[in-house]
Amino acid sequence: MHELSIAQSIAEIVLQHIPVKEGVSVRSVRLTLGAMAGVVPDSLEFCFSAIAEGTPLEGAHLEIEHVPLTAHCNSCGADGEIEPTLFACGRCGGTSLHVLSGREMQVRDIEIEEHEGVR
C-alpha cells in the first residue's frame, strides 16, 4: 500500500505549483504511470481522493496516462512492447533487453479553476 505515500508526494508537488490565494481549486491532475511502476491505479485514485480532502485538491480528478513496458532487444535489434510477466522480445524471444519505458511516474500538468469572490 505505498499508493498512500505516492498520493502524498503527488499532492505535495501539485500544491507547490498552484497560486497561493483563496478560491483556487484543482480540477484535474495528469499523471504518467508506467506498467512497471508497481502502482495500482484504483488504489492510487482512492488514496489521492482521501489526501485531497480539505485542500485545494479536493474533488480533483486524477487522469492517468498509462505507459507500456517497451524495450530494445539486444539480440535482434527490435524496439517494442514487452509483456511484463514474460520479459522477452516479442519478435525473437530474446531476453537481453534494454528497457526503454515502463517505469515512469510523473506529474505532467494540472487544470486549475479560480473562483472569483470566494474568500
Binding site: S9, G38, M105, I112
Partner: protein, 219 residues
Amino acid sequence: MSVITIERKVLEKNDVLAGQNRALLEKHGIFAINVVSSPGAGKTSLLERTLEHLAGRLSVAVIEGDVQTDFDARRVARYNVPAVQIVTAGGCHLEANLVHDALANIDLANVRLLIIENVGNLVCPSNYDLGEALKVVVASTTEGDDKPLKYPGMFRNSSVLIINKIDLLPYVNCSIAALRANALRINPSLAVFETSCTTGAGIPAWCDWLIARTGGAAV
C-alpha cells in the same frame, strides 16, 4: 480555467535524498546493500548468518526496517554490530529520508559494509531508492519458483538473487532450476547464490562476494 505544466517525477524528493545518502556512503567508502524479499523469506536469518561469518573479517553496520517491533534489531545486536531499527508504523517500505535519519546514528568512519534490511514486501520497496549500491532480493524455496514472474519489477531492479531455505527443497514444491530460469529471464545480469541459514550452506560464497565487493577484507 487554466493549465499549469509541472513535469516532475512523483518520487523526486525521495530520489534527491537517496542521492545524498549515496554521496555520504561513498565519501566514507561504504558499500551499501538494500535487502528485499516477501515477509518470511529469511532476510533476518540470512543477516545473522552473514554477520556470524563476517565477524572479524569485515566491519558491518545494519539498518533494520520493520512495520512494528524492534525484534530484528535485537536479534542483530547480539552480533556486536551497530544496528539501527526503523519502525515504519504501518509503512510498507523504507524511504530515503528514514535511512538518512538512521545514518546519523551510525559512526560511519568505521564501517565498510552497510546492510539495510527493508520491510518484507516485493512490490513497494522497488520504487524507493535508498542510496544503496545495489539491491539484493531474497526468494525462499517455500515461496515456489514463480515469484520472479509475479514480481518482475523487484527482480529487474535487483543485482543479486539469494535463493534461501535450500535445505527444505525435498519438502516443497519448488524447482531451483525453474526459479533461476524465471529470475534470469526477468534479469539476465543477476548474480545468484543458493543458501540455507539452517545448515549454513552457501553462506561462505555469499560472504566472499560481499568481501570482494567492499574491496577486500578490513576490520
